[in-house]
């Protein structure tokens, strides 16, 4: 295992750090894997990716690569990350790799809140205020430096004893992770997760998670509801690794109780005595995002506050909805395959962890690619002991859109050239951390920014590879956001457009007031006169029955088609309007002519009468 060889170039302390870093990653993975619907060992990750990318029509190019890599990913070959703690996990929850989980200079705890989020099917999920979320689990992983254990083995500084200490640490963390793996499945929240995964029906709630480094206190009442399970800490020579979980034992009552289906957002929902199940948590812990303007699609959002305080990256986390976000994020994840694909350091010999520091720049890229999961990894990648996320310092923790963007195009490039153009990691991290706060929420804008950033990066590095890269990024990404933003309005066309035409309909009964028809005629004075006349005539009761019929028919048919429930004067949709207008065209010309004829007829009659009268008088 990692420490078993090559202990010359690496100090034991560094190796220990590496183990702890990996421990953070692995434990987060274990937790999220069993709390994030669709990304779990219960599902075949390959299928899931494919279905996800299929559901986003615009990402056809990327979905091709995704499916290809997904099928390859189903092979049983252990991936580098799997080797850690000898625990092979299936899907990496997207974006997880970006977390800068732990660093010796950043000894903050990792706090993972698993929250139950009511889902309402708001057409604009991203920007409407959220409803309450309920923290059902809080995992806290902490490496406590203050609790140092003076152990005799390492102070003796004999290589052998140090090595056994490391062995011990590794073994213990392995055991801890295994029991974590099982515990996660025994806690009540797992049932919610399982329900979400298994049932095809839409739920009124979903699971999401927030990862942060700050333990935001629960209201006392809420904390009283929680039970605690503490794993036995692992003592190392430099500190103590503590993992514990606070969980609600009553999760099931909450989730099985369907939240009211009213689409309105009730601000003081929790306090409402009507909401029985929620009443138990009178002051909801608004941990994480709180309430202010955070999206109702909280399942899609997650905050990483490693270093940044309230910064939110969209997350692939949990979404149970056909709404665009999941496909978006999912395809992002799949897109990144090629990225990860170029990292397998084929040219590098399988190196012991001792030497791995030399490759940090390269291997650290793996961190933000969900690589082991999806990537077919064309070159047999040796068990690389990825130095871990601590390399990325506090900077990189965003969703990986920009780096992921280089998608299909890149994958077609030969691996060598890929490697060449790779910029050293720090700059990329800078750009990423700079741009990526909310990449998925504001898709196009962020993409633009990211592309710019990438481009400026390219100036420093190998520009010739950036040209194609940008162009290839650009399109899929933009089409993503477009499709996601487009699809919703399309769906909601009918209800939205009904109303405007209610108003329009009033106008239609008075076509003469329509500026279009009137103004055009107004140019020529004679026509204007005729128009006036026509308008007069139209306002008047119909001269002939056929006239009114001709106008009404399209209206009737229109309303039938669009919404039969709507009352008669509300024929609704654009089609109806346009048809009625156009049909009123011929109708109008006909009536004008008719009117003139009739007028002339009247005139003739009048003159006749006058003549006759004058004749009689005379």
């Amino acid at each position: 295992m990692p420490r078993s060889h090559g202990n010359h170039s690496h100090s034991d302390a560094a190796k220990m750090e590496q183990i702890i870093t990996e421990f953070y990653t692995k434990s987060l993975h274990i937790i999220l894997e069993s709390r994030t619907p669709y990304v779990s060992s219960r599902n075949f990750s390959g299928e899931q990716i494919m279905s996800m990318s299929l559901s986003s029509p615009s990402s056809s190019s990327s979905s091709a690569s995704a499916s290809a890599s997904a099928s390859a990913a189903s092979s049983v070959r252990p991936r580098p990350r799997d080797k850690w703690f000898n625990l092979a996990l299936r899907g990496y929850p997207g974006g997880m790799e970006n977390l800068d989980l732990w660093h010796h200079s950043n000894p903050e705890p990792m706090v993972v809140d698993v929250v139950l989020v009511p889902l309402d099917w708001d057409p604009t999920p991203n920007f409407s205020p959220t409803r309450e979320e309920i923290v059902i689990e809080r995992w806290v992983l902490q490496y406590d430096h203050t609790r140092k254990v003076k152990d005799n083995h390492s102070s003796g500084s004999s290589r052998r004893s140090g090595n056994t200490t490391l062995h011990n640490l590794y073994k213990k963390s392995m055991l801890l992770l295994r029991s974590l793996y099982l515990t996660v499945r025994l806690l009540p929240a797992y049932k919610v997760f399982r329900d979400l995964n298994s049932s095809a029906q839409l739920r009124t709630f979903s699971l999401a998670y927030h990862v942060s480094s700050v333990i935001e206190p629960f209201p006392r009442s809420a904390e009283a509801e929680m039970q605690r399970f503490g794993f036995t800490p692992i003592d190392t020579s430099a500190g103590r690794l503590c993992l514990s979980v606070l969980y609600r034992s009553s999760v099931l009552d909450l989730s099985s109780e369907p939240t009211p289906l009213t689409p309105q957002v009730i601000p003081d929902y929790v306090g409402s005595p009507l909401a029985e199940p929620l009443k138990r948590f009178p002051s909801l812990p608004q941990v994480g995002l709180g309430n202010h303007g955070s999206p109702s699609s909280l399942p899609f959002s997650r905050r990483h506050s490693w270093g940044f305080d309230l910064y939110r990256a969209s997350s692939p986390s949990v979404s149970f909805s056909p709404s665009p976000s999941p496909t978006h994020s999912e395809s992002n994840a799949s897109i990144s395959n090629p990225v990860s694909r170029r990292f397998p350091p084929t040219s590098l010999p399988p190196h012991p962890p001792g030497t791995s520091i030399a490759y940090k720049n390269t291997t650290s890229f793996d961190e933000y690619c969900p690589s082991p999961t999806f990537s077919p990894s064309p070159s047999p990648s040796p068990p690389i002991y990825i130095p871990g996320t601590h390399l990325s310092k506090g900077l990189l923790r965003s969703e990986s859109a920009p780096v992921n963007i280089p998608t299909t195009r890149l994958s077609s490039l030969p691996a060598l050239s890929n490697k060449q153009y790779l910029p050293p990691s720090p700059p990329i991290k800078n750009t990423r951390s700079g741009t990526l706060r909310t990449d998925k929420f504001t898709g196009p804008i962020q993409t633009g920014a990211a592309v710019e950033q990438l481009f400026s990066l390219g100036k420093d590095d190998n520009r010739k590879y950036f040209g194609p890269k940008i162009s290839s990024n650009d399109s899929p990404q933009i089409s993503f956001s477009r499709s996601s933003s487009r699809s919703l309005p399309d769906d909601f066309d009918d209800p939205e457009f009904d109303c405007p035409f209610d108003v329009d309909d009033v106008d239609m009964t008075d076509p003469g007031s329509r500026p279009g028809s009137f103004d055009q005629k107004g140019h020529i004075s004679q026509d204007a006169a005729v128009g006036d006349l026509v308008r007069m005539l139209k306002k008047a009761p119909p001269l002939r029955p056929e006239f009114s019929n001709s106008v009404n028919v399209p209206q009737a048919s229109g309303s039938e088609i669009w919404s039969s429930s709507i009352q008669e004067p509300c024929p609704a949709a654009q089609n109806a309007v346009s048809t009625s207008v156009t049909s009123s065209g011929p109708g109008r010309s006909k009536t004008t002519a008719d009117a003139l004829e009739e007028l002339q007829g009247y005139r003739e009659m009048k003159t006749l009468l006058l003549k006759q009268g004058s004749k009689s008088y005379t």
């Binding site: 295992m1 078993s4 060992s41 219960r42 049983v76 252990p78 799997d82 080797k83 000898n86 625990l87 092979a88 996990l89 062995h167 011990n168 590794y170 073994k171 213990k172 392995m174 055991l175 801890l176 295994r178 029991s179 793996y181 099982l182 515990t183 499945r185 025994l186 797992y190 049932k191 399982r194 399970f229 794993f231 036995t232």
Partner: protein, 216 residues
């Protein structure tokens, strides 16, 4: 080498539940002791709302199932209430070739005792309660309550395993090298073969538990 012993809480089960309950417990224990590269496999119990984890190793699964079948047939033959299954982990040491023996010795370092109380009415209920969810007969509610109780105690046992695994780590031998699912050598002892063997095991256990917490 110290031998840690974990006596799991008694479980009141009915005959038809033995298989699932034992599978769940045995696999859970072995999962914690399979320190080779493991690709965990989630398994949902059918009778209970419990998910446990297997190592995803067919051979092991077969072995465990076999033992469980043995145990079930033993229970049928000996309808006495209490029965015990022991899962022991050991290391193989070549004993110093002294005297005339060159014997392979098993050094037990951990033993798990699963205690089952099998309810008396073996098969009468099994078919009934399998598909009696729709029909509500008088005993139905009671049965549901009983099953919930079994589920709760099963969870308790699983947590007991987790806690034990967490608290006692020092006695676990170093991780064996090798590819694939690597377990520590282990054996599952059921009272089946003969009572004397089981008694031997008890004696052995008593001997070994003399100083259980020396290292921890």
């Amino acid at each position: 080498m110290n031998c840690e012993v974990c006596q799991l809480k008694d479980l009141e089960v009915e005959h038809f539940e033995i298989r699932e309950v034992l599978r769940c417990i045995l696999h859970t224990i072995v999962f914690h002791r399979a320190l080779g590269l493991v690709r965990p496999k989630d398994v949902d119990l059918e009778l209970f709302d419990v998910t446990y984890v297997q190592c995803g190793d067919v051979e092991l699964e077969k072995k465990i199932d076999e033992k469980i079948e043995h145990f079930i047939s033993w229970v049928e033959k000996h309808p006495n209430k209490k029965s015990q299954i022991c899962l022991s982990f050991y290391e193989v040491k070549n004993k110093q070739p002294y005297w005339f023996t060159n014997k392979i010795e098993r050094l037990y370092w951990e033993q798990w005792y699963i205690n089952l109380n099998v309810a008396q009415h073996p098969k009468a209920h099994s078919s009934k309660s399998h598909n009696s969810k729709v029909v509500v007969d008088p005993g139905e509610e009671e049965r549901i309550a009983r099953r919930a109780a079994v589920e709760a105690s099963l969870r308790e046992v699983l947590f007991q395993i987790i806690k034990f695994v967490n608290e006692k780590k020092d006695h676990v031998p170093p991780i064996p090298n090798g590819d694939g699912v690597v377990y520590f050598p282990h054996e599952i002892t059921i009272p089946s073969s003969s009572d004397s063997a089981f008694g031997m095991d008890m004696i052995k256990r008593m001997l070994q538990t003399g100083h259980p917490t020396m290292l921890s």
